[in-house]
């Protein structure tokens, strides 16, 4: 049995490479930039990167004395309160993945997460 130093070296690097490949999702988590986009009546109102540096909450004044209270957390965004009758936007809860959205129909506000998105589907039936 003659195993040369070189063999062991190659083996070592191969195993290291393989382990690195297998663990890449843990070592470098998916930090793909997620951006929350707030649209009012079809126009982009604000874009907020969803990351630890943007934790905030604010109230947007809308036409006819309406308001919507938005909370941005480190990995999600949600509507805390809104002056709308149905409160669907509040019940929707927090969204965090590209493609998810919050719609406030009475106030014509849409909040959605953009990003690489989900290329698995073309649209959503709900």
């Amino acid at each position: 049995m003659k195993i040369k130093k070189g063999d062991i070296l190659i083996l070592f690097f191969l195993i290291l490479a393989l382990t690195g490949w297998l663990l890449q999702n843990y070592i470098w988590p998916d930090t793909e930039n997620k951006i929350a986009i707030i649209e009012i009546d079809g126009q982009v109102y604000q874009e907020i990167p969803i990351d630890t540096s943007n934790i905030q909450e604010f109230i947007i004044d809308l036409p006819e004395n309406n308001q919507i209270h938005i909370v941005v957390e480190k990995d999600s965004i949600h509507v805390e309160d809104a002056s709308c009758p149905d409160k669907v936007c509040i019940k929707t809860g927090a969204i965090s993945k590209p493609g998810q959205n919050i719609v406030c129909l009475p106030n014509k506000v849409v909040v959605y997460i953009s990003g690489a998105g989900d290329s698995n589907i073309d649209d959503l039936s709900f």
Binding site: L18, W21, P85, D86, I102, S119, D122, D123, L124, S125
Partner: protein, 354 residues
């Protein structure tokens, strides 16, 4: 010598495996054929309307034509605005008195609405208006109505008392205080009309989305079918539990999960059973219908939901080019016979296909 060969074989194996694994991921991540669709959204018919066109466009005028058409349909058929031009408001106001002349649009939708009321034997009823008004589910004053109020209004709900005169294109509600509500069908019609406009403007690949009602035109530019996510009824909007493939088809879902309110710890949703006057209570959380035309899928999604799993499935199996997906509260999924594994793929394992 033997052990050395074994060692080298092992080494080779590791190299090959590494190459295969890394090679594979590269292949998967290869960018697909570049498709840059144009999408426009707006608020119409009390919902979010999105049109996505995959053809090359010289200008945006086709979107305006489509949105104008939806506005026109809304103006004719709404009961929620003080619209002077709403034919349905006029029809309701003259209930018990006169015939109301109607445009071909409104007459067609009323005819379809009555047809599905008949098909479901009144489980779906387009004269549900008086009860819907009591529940006010979209408004600030949402509350459980008095049982006596419901009992008083319930006799007004009867599609048989909607008289349609096809020759003269006019309609009449036979009892006063009756109210027609096209909320469960008008969006379906609007999508079909948008499809006509897009097609006549040369569009071959597009998705029309009216508040979650989907109508597809053609297939994807690469020739493969459209892939539509089916909303997971237990998660926020955008999370889907499966993928439905469509080509030139409509997909409409009705469920208890979107519009509801809670009172005394009980949840009240927006799909009202015309027999009881209360939100339908069965084990279904959602029903999705696939048809050729969107108006049929729209009316059927509510009708079949109200009929429940057994009766609903029976009716679906009798209708041509019509398929259904039922989801129950305990995450069981039932599909009609025409739905193949190829056409509908469940992506969340907690949903069990029966």
């Amino acid at each position: 010598m033997y052990r050395k060969r074994l060692f080298h074989t092992l080494l080779l194996l590791i190299i090959i495996i590494s190459l295969i694994i890394t090679g594979c991921t590269k292949n998967i991540k290869l960018p697909q054929e570049e498709i840059t669709p144009t999408a426009k959204t707006t608020f119409l018919m009390g919902t979010l309307v999105k049109i996505t066109i995959y053809d090359e466009l010289k200008n945006d005028s086709v979107f305006d034509k489509a949105f104008n058409r939806i506005q026109e349909i809304e103006d004719k058929m709404t009961i929620n605005k003080d619209s002077e031009i709403s034919e349905i408001i006029r029809l309701n106001k003259t209930a018990g008195k006169d015939f109301t002349p109607l445009s071909p649009d409104t007459f067609y939708v009323l005819e379809k609405g009555k047809y599905y009321s008949e098909l479901s034997d009144g489980q779906f009823d387009i004269t549900i208006g008086p009860i819907v008004k009591l529940w006010n589910i979209d408004t600030e004053n949402v509350h459980i109505p008095q049982d006596t109020e419901i009992k008083t209004k319930l006799p007004l709900v009867n599609y048989r008392n909607l008289e349609l005169d096809k020759d003269q294109k006019q309609a009449k509600l036979l009892k006063s205080n009756m109210i027609v509500d096209l909320g469960a069908i008008a969006k379906g019609y609007a999508a079909d009309e948008v499809a006509k406009i897009l097609t006549s403007n040369g569009i071959k690949n597009a998705i029309i989305n009216l508040g979650g009602n989907i109508l597809t035109i053609g297939v994807k530019p690469d020739g493969s079918p459209w892939r539509l996510g089916l909303q997971d009824p237990f998660e926020p909007r955008g999370d889907y539990m499966g993928v439905v493939k469509l080509a030139d088809q409509a997909l409409v879902s009705s469920g208890t999960y979107e519009k509801y309110f809670e009172q005394n710890g009980k949840r009240y949703h927006h799909i009202i059973d015309p027999q009881t006057g209360y939100p339908a209570e069965n084990n279904l959380i959602s029903v999705s219908i696939i048809t050729k035309e969107s108006i049929d899928a729209d009316a059927l999604s509510t009708s079949i939901f109200l009929l429940g799993l057994d009766k609903g499935m029976e009716i679906i199996e009798d209708l041509p080019n019509t398929e259904a997906i039922f989801i129950t509260y305990d995450k069981k999924v039932y599909v009609s016979q025409g739905i193949t594994k190829e056409q509908f793929e469940i992506t969340k394992p907690e949903f069990q296909l029966q």
